[in-house]
Amino acid sequence: MSFYETFGKIRRQALGSVPVLVGVVILVILVGSTALARWIAPYNPTRATGGINEFPSWAHPFGTTGQGQDVLSQFLYGGQNTLWIAFTIAVLTTLLALIVALTSAYFRGWVDDVLTLVTNVFLVIPSLPLIVVLAAFLTPGPATMIMVLTITGWAFGARLFRSQALSLREREFIAAAEDVGERRWRIVAIELLPNMGSVVAAYFVNQVIFAITAQASLEFLGLGDGGQVTWGSMLFWAQNTSALIRGAWWTFVVPGMAIALTAFSLALINNAVDELGNPRLRADRLLRKAGFRKPSASLMTPVKRDA
């Protein structure tokens, strides 16, 4: 299955299933509205334009913060910052993971051993404390955020892609390519990489979720750039101005729901991508459509498991 075929399938399946559609609709609304922040945001997000902790009203549909800023404008501008940073981190970690995995698959031997060891060390060290220590020593800002989360976020992908590459290497077409005398880099780039399309796509979507949550966590701890409006910094200020105890729920529900809904919509989309890679989950749906309520064990197509 080539890369483009994979995406064609994603589209066909996606259109046929409601949950994915829900995910896409939520995502388009969120990304669309935040992208248009400059034109549709009613106020300057950093300036006090109303009273303190005002309940949502016509003038301020999402209320105001503890410093009198408009929550709707903060949500729109903050989303813009949060999403582009998360997207950049997802692109970088996916690339880094691919480079490590394909280097492993290309050189094999001791290079593979060393890279696997490094990957496993990064995997086992808990991320949040490491992220906190790294971020604390650098000047806060988007560049630091992107760097720190890229350094700490690639390892799982490297392991995933490596095992995928290893299992692909056992297939006949790779052996055929080797017999024909294709060079190793060509096998990696032309034969291996395109076949990893669906795994890479699913991982990328997951990384966007990781980046949004990790970024928000860091900012919530106070390790973000205090002057920049993001969903995480909105939560930080809500916590810091004791919005909870003053009953100003809108100041944390709006950015929190924005993060949760973005992550949820991406997870829904990802589940559909996942079903492509796992024929058993797909077979389940087909059988249900065909009228089997509880498919018996023997009806399931056995699938060759990769080592």
Binding site: P19, L117, N120, V121, L123, V124, I125, P126, S127, L128, P129, L130, V132, V133, L134, A136, F137, L138, I209, T213, A216, S217, F220, L221, G222, L223, L235, A238, Q239, L244, I245, G247, W249, F252, V253, G256, I259, A260, L261, T262, A263, F264, A267, L268, N271, N278, R280, L281, D284, R288, R293, K294, P295, A297, S298, M300, P302
Partner: protein, 328 residues
């Protein structure tokens, strides 16, 4: 045995990497934070404590390698230097006060979410296509999309602030930790419910979904059809044939999850002002207390490594293939 020795060597290596990162970070980052810290505090601290601070950082005139050896020695002796925000207090004392609460909250919530999640996943796969199987995955996916601290904020607002069902923070009611009596334990549990519930709710999803998918795989194996054909009771097929095998991937994931849950738990503690390591971490960040921050990073990393090692050992007991030396 070889397998366990290998894993142990790996964790020792990982711990060594973490310690080394911790040593070089303040020395190699641009602007030399270690000197900056000393300079910042030079106005507020007297000569004696400044010298202690310098020594804690190993900012002596010794060559870097010598400093590194001294640092390793200090770590091995459990000497993490002094806290800057709480000056003469030893960092290790501050950590000792918090670690028990973090371990209590962490163990309770990881075990609860593992057990509940695996049970729900097995149920969903067993009653495949039933109402629960269709409703649970999207609901859990949605809850799992919440950052820990946001769900914590919501639960805190509703249950602690609005409804006043649970206390507004802390781990016990009195000023000092309660005695080890029935009412004392009850008080601690009462304070534990809300933060533990938060962590369980967010981390439940992966256990359930992984278990469900593993069960679906196992249910299509021939030996299950055989078990059914032998006329075994469904309950027996479910528990001693299907669940036992399907649980293995979840046990493997347990090690990896401990790190993640611990990270999320740190933020949950902050929201509930639960006096664990997360709360110390936030105080360290807001007071720019580098020694405390670094020591917390090390302690948390070492605890997670230890937990992983325990899980690996557990895995050997569960999976005979690893014992035979085929795995690893």
């Amino acid at each position: 045995m070889l397998y366990i020795a290998k894993r142990l060597a790996f964790y020792v290596l990982a711990a060594f990497v973490a310690i080394t990162v911790n040593f070089f970070l303040p020395r190699l980052t641009p602007g030399d934070p270690a000197s900056t810290i000393v300079a910042t505090y030079s106005t507020t601290l007297n000569e004696e404590s400044l010298a202690a601070l310098r020594q804690a950082y190993g900012l002596t005139d010794d060559p870097l390698f010598q400093q590194y050896l001294t640092y390793l020695g200090n770590i091995l002796r459990g000497d993490f230097g002094r806290s800057l925000s709480n000056f003469p207090a030893q960092v290790s004392d501050i950590i000792a006060a918090g670690i028990g609460w973090s371990v209590l909250l962490g163990l309770t919530s990881v075990l609860l979410s593992f057990v509940i999640g695996s049970a729900l996943g097995a149920l969903a796969a067993w009653r495949r296509g039933g109402i629960f199987d269709r409703v649970a995955p999207p609901v859990l996916l949605f809850l799992g999309s919440f950052p820990y601290f946001f769900l914590a904020l919501l639960l805190f607002y509703f249950f602690c602030f609005k409804l006043k069902w649970f206390p507004m923070g802390n781990a016990y009611s009195s000023v000092n930790p309660p005695p080890f009596t029935l009412s004392g334990i009850g008080d601690v549990l009462y304070h534990l419910i809300a933060p533990a519930f938060t962590v369980v709710l967010v981390s439940l999803g992966p256990w359930t979904l992984n278990m469900r998918n593993a069960m679906i795989g196992v249910l299509s194996e021939d030996y299950l059809t055989l078990a059914e054909a032998k006329g075994l009771k469904p309950r027996r097929v479910l528990f001693s044939h299907a669940v036992r095998t399907a649980l293995l991937p979840n046990v493997t994931a347990l090690g990896a999850a401990i790190g993640g849950v611990f990270s999320g738990q740190l933020l949950t503690e902050i929201v509930f002002t639960y006096p664990g390591l997360g709360y110390s971490l936030m105080r360290a960040v807001s007071a720019v207390d580098y020694p405390l921050m670094q020591a917390l990073f090390l302690i948390i990393t070492l605890s997670v490594l230890a937990a992983n090692f325990i899980v690996d050992t557990l895995y050997v007991l569960l999976d005979p293939r690893v014992r035979a030396g085929q795995g690893a």
